[in-house]
Amino acid sequence: MDKKYMELHLAVDRYLQGALSGSELAAFEERLTWDQGLLDDLELAERFRDELREVATERFDAVDDARARIVDWLSKLFYIPQYAAAAAFALAVALTAGLLVGPLGAGRSPDGFHATPTQIVPLLAVRGAAAQSVAFDARSQLVLLVDVTGFHTAYRVSVRADRPGASPFWMQDDMQPTHLESLAVGMPGELLEAGRYVLTVEGVSAAVEGGKTYEHIQEISFESVPAD
């Protein structure tokens, strides 16, 4: 490839960018007055640049459309009060997780916060129905949304493997229903390997001695299916 020709080619791009110095600009434009090949190159480069910008804009618009659809979907979803409350809780969980693994954590990245994707999964308790399947990304923060009944001052939720004698490996106590008798149980997705689990909800009552008593409310079986 002719080096000088290639440099002239690149001068075309610099001209389009307005990046030529005064003497370079004068020399370039002087040549432009008679060099038909340079004029062709200029028009071609300009066309390429303009069409590339159009294509890039199409791509950005497509991303914006996708974002708009997601926002629209979320706004409709969060119009349901339980989900709106769960979203608020999920945001709190995500921020807390960000603080723990971000600037305060030992393994934080030099750039600051880690992005923590969060999945909200409603768990439905339907008597006699098969265990609900929950598909999630093990790297994400999981928020299980559980409806509760009764009039307890607080609730305790625990999760255990669905096998005889299994102990709870995740527990949250003194939970308040976030909105309209709904509990949002946050947990790291990595805790749920593929398998069957039981989520237990108990109501908390203050005991006379100052301690707490727990009343079994319901159990919800679910099956964990890692998304990937």
Binding site: Y5, A26, F28, E29, L32, W34, R47, E51, E54, V55
Partner: protein, 210 residues
């Protein structure tokens, strides 16, 4: 930038320019012939230059006529100190005409010689300008798809879409200047070939010479 380096095309241009300038001082017949040749040789480039400076293609057409009128009048009466630099002389007039037009800020007749107006050649659309936008966009997509390295695609976007400086792109992406040049050169050449195919298979005018 090696634009002023001696090369065959530049040397030929110097010879033609000197002959044209001499012709303006010769007899009436030779003078008329040189006027016509000068208009044919420099009109396209001057119009392009004027269009870029005014941002108005139609106005550039008027300003081209004004530029040529001034040049012809001067060349008929005053010899150039460096006849081989006729292109630089014409470019200088065009730049001043564009600047004056900007100051005038409105379209007005520069009082042109009608014979010169008629002699100004009508610029035919270049072959690749005739390719429809959608086809050209399709060609750009094909160029992007044909690039196996994501980094090269990013280079194009940064340079052409975001107007990022070459040195900045090379530094941030850890690229050599040579690699940068090759990516740009190949992408444009591929684009050109695709446009040629869209336009009917005929080659465009060859680059790199006058």
């Amino acid at each position: 930038m090696p634009l002023r380096e001696r090369d065959p095309a530049l040397e030929e241009e110097a010879r033609i320019a000197a002959r044209l300038v001499r012709g303006f001082r010769a007899g009436a017949e030779e003078c008329a012939r040189c006027e016509t040749e000068m208009i044919e040789r420099y009109s396209r480039g001057l119009r392009c230059l004027l269009a870029r400076r005014t941002g108005d293609d139609e106005r550039a057409r008027d300003l081209l006529q004004e530029t040529l009128c001034i040049a012809i009048e001067k060349l008929r009466t005053t010899p150039l100190e460096k006849p081989e630099r006729l292109a630089g002389y014409l470019r200088g007039i065009a730049v001043r005409v564009a600047a004056n037009a900007g100051r005038r800020g409105r379209r007005e007749s520069p009082g042109l010689d009608e014979s010169t107006i008629e002699a100004t050649p009508h610029e035919p659309r270049r072959q690749f300008q005739q390719v429809a936008s959608e086809e050209a966009r399709c060609a750009v997509r094909k160029v992007l798809q044909s690039m196996p390295v994501e980094r090269d695609r990013e280079l194009l976007i940064r340079f052409y879409v975001y107007d990022q400086d070459k040195q900045e792109i090379c530094r941030e992406m850890g690229l050599s200047s040579l690699h940068f040049n090759r990516v740009l050169f190949r992408a444009k050449n591929r684009f050109k070939k695709l446009l040629e195919e869209s336009a009917g298979g005929a080659d465009f005018a060859p680059s790199g010479g006058g």
